[in-house]
Structures are given as C-alpha cells and as structure tokens.
C-alpha cells in the first residue's frame, strides 16, 4: 500500500523527486532534458572542432574529421543552427531556476570555500549554484552572439545581407565569443568531473541523496518537504 499523498504528487521517476531507496536517489533530469543536453553538447563539440579548424592554421587538420575543408565550411553553420534550437529549448525549461538570488552573491563571495571544497561554510542552495548559473547565462548570451555573427558571416546564404565592414566585425566578434564559450565549456566539463557524482545527473538522470545534501540542500529539503518521495524504489 503506498501512501496517497506521495503517489498523488510523484509520478514514478519524474524530475525533482526523491527515490527512497535504499540508497536514496534524487531524480535531477528527466529524459527530455537529458536528450536535449546531449544534442547540445555534441553540437558544441562538433562546432568547436570545425570552428577551430578555420580559426588557426595549426588546427586546420581537424577539417579531415568532417571530410575536408569544403565540408567543414558547409556543415559548421548548420550544426550551429541545431545547437541554437536545442539549447534554447533547454533554456526555456531552465531559465527560471537560474535567476540569481541572495544566496548566489554569498556563494560567489566565498569562492575560496567553493574551490577548497568546504561546502559546510556555504549557504544551502536550491537546484543551481552561482557557478552553474554563470555557465547557464554565459552560454545563453554567447550562443546568441555566435548565431547572429555567424549568420552574418555565412557566405553561402547571407553574404549579401550585411556590408563587408560589418562582416569583418562579425567575424572578429564571432571568434572572440567562440574563445569565451570554449573557456566556459571547459569550466562546465571540469566542474562536472571535479564535483564527483555530478555526471550521472545527465546520464542516468539521478544523483545520490548525499550529493543533493552536500551541494543543493535547499532543493533536497524542498522536495522532501513537499512529499515528492517515491517510496516504491
């Protein structure tokens, strides 16, 4: 017999719910968001490789991965379109939870405790910390810059859209924004690896109860308080 209160609110395995276990697990991302995330991630990696090939001659050999220079030039903007669409579906789902709040200011001001791993000194956090929010908004704004400047530089279809002096600026901004997004991408991947137990949130969709307790206690307490607990597993 399951308790009506918890079954009423908690669909089996739905996002932001606790599986009582043991061990306790928390569902952080449903399959939709995970698919979306990986489409975006793969696009970003392909864009990075094809873009770097055209950015610096020492990396031109990367064009071989795409079947030569002509293919690289052709496919790069199309992957950009895919990334833009898939990222902004994700954006629509996540932006509300990424609005900065007071806790984020405190968290960011104690960045040495973050890096030192002394999370007991930090405020309890909701689903996202300031670092994740920075990555989220950084990616979102850079992707907009990249798609706009990318379209201006897309010779095949938009070569006549803007003047040549404008296109020069677009290409400069595009390459600067690309360097910035690659740095943010590295930060994102690194943080996910360094904070052990994070990556499974995007593979299996779940994290351990301890992970949620350590890094996002407010989020965990909120789910528990609302009875979003699936007792069957």
């Amino acid at each position: 017999m399951s308790t009506p209160a918890s079954t009423k609110h908690t669909k089996l395995g739905s996002e932001d719910s606790i599986r009582r276990g043991p061990p306790v697990e928390v569902v952080r991302y449903g399959p939709g968001k995970r698919i979306n995330h990986w489409v975006t991630a793969i696009s970003l990696i392909l864009l990075l490789l094809s873009g770097l090939a055209m950015f610096h001659p020492s990396l031109f050999f990367l064009t071989e991965l795409f079947g030569g220079g002509q293919m690289t030039r052709w496919i790069h903007p199309w992957i950009g379109v895919v990334l833009f669409i898939s990222f902004f579906i994700l954006f629509a789902q996540l932006w509300k939870l990424n609005i900065p709040n007071r806790d984020d200011v405190k968290w960011a001001s104690q960045i040495s405790d973050v890096i030192g791993g002394n999370e007991e000194n930090l405020p309890e956090l909701g689903k996202y910390n300031a670092g994740q929010k920075f990555i989220f908004w950084g990616m979102a704004s850079l992707i907009i810059v990249l798609i706009v400047t990318g379209i201006m530089a897309w010779e095949q279809y938009f070569g006549q859209l803007t003047s040549i002096p404008t296109q020069r600026i677009a290409l400069l901004v595009h390459s600067l924004a690309a360097v910035a997004i690659i740095l943010i991408f590295m930060l994102h991947v690194y943080a996910a690896i360094w904070t052990r137990g994070t990556i499974r949130a995007m593979t299996r969709g779940t994290v351990t109860g301890g992970w949620a307790w350590r890094h996002h206690r407010k989020w965990l307490k909120d789910m528990a308080g609302r009875g979003r607990i699936d007792p069957t597993k």
């Binding site: 009506p4 306790v24 001659p57 070569g159 002096p165 296109q167 290409l171 390459s175 360094w194 007792p231």
Partner: protein, 330 residues
C-alpha cells in the same frame, strides 16, 4: 631567350612558339595562406605589373571579353539598367569590370566620363591572403602575382572580408573564390595578360614593375602638360604597393573613379582578428585546457562523504514519517 628572361616584359609581342615550362612554381612562393613556415624562395623573379591608364581607356570592354575568353568563364547575360557597367558587379565569372562614372568637375563644370577597369590589384600586402584560413588556397609569387589555388579553397569567403578592394567572389556553382589571376598561367610561360594584349588603345600595358612606373611617369607628364595638374600614379603604399596600377588624371581623389579607395589598407578589424585574436585565443584556450587537466589529475576532488549520504537518508525518512502521520491524522 626563355632561360634568360624570368618574366615577360610586354603583352604586345606574340607568344614564344617553342614549348616552355611554367616558371611559376612552388619554389617561387613568397607567401602562402595559413602557412607559417614557408621555405624562402630559391630565386627572386623580376616583379611584374599591369598599368591601366584611365585617361586612355575608351570603355570598349575588349579587355573584359578577352578575360572571359582566356579564362573560359561564362558570365550570365545581364539586364541593362541604363548604364554601361555590365555586369553590374564583379562575379565569380567576371574577373574584371569596366566601371563607368559620370563626374562633374567642380572647377570646370565639365562632365567627365570616368572609366575604370576594376579587378584584383595584386597587393604586395594582400588582405585576402592574410584572412584565408585554408593552407595554400591563396599564394603570392615573387614576381608579385597573388593567385587563388582553387583546389585548396574551402569557400568560406574570408578573403572577401580581408580584401580592401572588394574583389574576390565566391562561386555559387563550386563554392570556391575567384578573381583576376593577372593571367598567371600566361605570365608563367612568357606571355602578357590577355586583357593587356586585347586593349586597342594600349590603355592597359604590362611589363616589369620598374618599367611600368617609368612608363607611367611619361604619361603623367603628358597629362600634366594638358592641364591635369593632379595626374598621378595609383600604387597605394597602404597595401605595400600593387602590381596592378592606375594612371589617374585626378590622383588626388581616387574615390571619384567608382569608389576606388583613397588610402587602402588591410582593415584594423581584420588585423586584430587574424593577429592578436588568433594567437592569444589559442594560447588562452591551451592554457585553460592544460590547467584543468593538471588540476584534475593532481587536485583534490570534491567528493560526497558517507556521512552526507546518511544525513540525506535521515531527512528523507523523517519526511516520509511526517507525511504518513499527516495522513493518519486526516
């Protein structure tokens, strides 16, 4: 003759009849796009130039036809919009274009019909080559010719942004960049450019850059003696000089000739993009990658402790009890 003369001296003479090896080879490259370690050329070819005397041009477009003929291109049949400029712009199939401007000279109140043969200037410091990301898609020979090697071109159009003269065009058919070659394939075997050879008034002449400058001097003196006080040679220093030069009767204002740039130079934006950004960007990304890798290997990871897992379990158990109690109460 052929072995003593590295570059043709004129376009007027008929081509040599004996078979000839091409003399523009990989060994003669002084620049190659997206290539940092180009071996220095083994010899220095005599720099060549094409001189276009705007004051002698009658706008017959024999050069345009000769260019189409020699390069075997097929420009689309266009539409007449009431000007002689035809087609309306350079295209991937039209490497040179007579641009007609009607200009009223404010000093004399005379209408002057200015005709300028537009096309690649073969810059000593070529912006197209600087911008090109594809190794060997654009090369510069020691005789000054800047040539596009279509097999290596990826069709990105960066050369279009790099060029201060708005010359290269990307073909919609094969997605490769095209422009005037200065007839490199003719010059390589001792012949002058097709356009120069076809010009009926000798408004286009070809030879060594030195000879062309000398020839221009004579033309300029003649123009000055006939009242064109500002006549001069257009060999813009901002791009290191060019291997296609103009004699202009109004050299103080090149822009009246269908927007010929007054002081062309590679745009500072392009210089930043292809200079600081390219090198600093790569360095920053490399350092960041190395830094994260090192920290990842040797740094202390952020791990969840057993204790924290227990805390979570307690919290969840408590909440479940709480919920059950509430339900019993109800």
């Amino acid at each position: 003759m052929a072995n003593t003369m590295d570059s043709p001296r004129t376009a007027v003479s008929n081509p040599p009849v004996q078979p000839m090896e091409t003399n523009l080879t990989q060994r003669d490259l002084i620049r190659r796009s997206a290539t940092s370690e180009l071996p220095p050329p083994e010899r220095q070819l005599t720099p060549v130039a094409k001189l276009i005397d705007v004051s002698k041009c009658i706008g017959c477009k024999a050069c345009q036809s000769a260019c189409v003929e020699w390069n075997d291109t097929n420009p689309e049949v266009g539409e007449n919009v009431g000007v002689y400029t035809n087609p309306h712009d350079l295209t991937a199939d039209m490497f040179t274009l007579m641009r007609f401007s009607e200009w009223i000279n404010p000093e004399t109140d005379n209408l002057e019909w200015l005709i300028r043969k537009d096309g690649c200037m073969h810059c000593a410091d070529p912006g197209c080559l600087k911008a090109c990301p594809s190794p060997g898609a654009i090369v510069q020979y020691s005789n000054g010719i800047v040539d596009f090697i279509h097999d290596n071109c990826i069709g990105c159009g960066y050369c279009v942004k790099g060029c201060p003269f708005n010359i290269p065009r990307i073909s919609k058919a094969d997605h490769r960049a095209y422009k005037c070659t200065l007839c490199s394939d003719r010059v390589a075997v001792g012949q002058g450019p097709a356009c120069a050879k076809a010009c009926p008034t000798q408004a286009i002449v070809f030879g060594t850059k030195e000879d062309m400058k000398k020839h221009a001097e004579g033309r300029i003196a003649d123009l000055k003696s006939r009242g064109y006080a500002n006549a001069g040679l257009y060999d813009p220093p901002g791009v290191g000089g060019t291997h296609v030069m103009y004699v202009l009767h109004h050299n103080d204002k090149p822009h009246i000739y269908a927007d010929l740039p007054d002081n062309p130079a590679i745009s500072a934006v392009v210089q930043t993009w292809k200079g600081a950004t390219k090198y600093a960007g790569l360095a920053v990304m490399g350092l960041a990658a190395a830094g994260t890798l090192l920290h990842g290997l040797f740094g202390r990871a952020n791990r969840v402790s057993k204790h924290e897992e227990e805390e979570a379990k307690e919290l969840v158990d408590e909440s479940v009890e709480h919920v059950e109690k509430r339900e019993e109460d109800a």
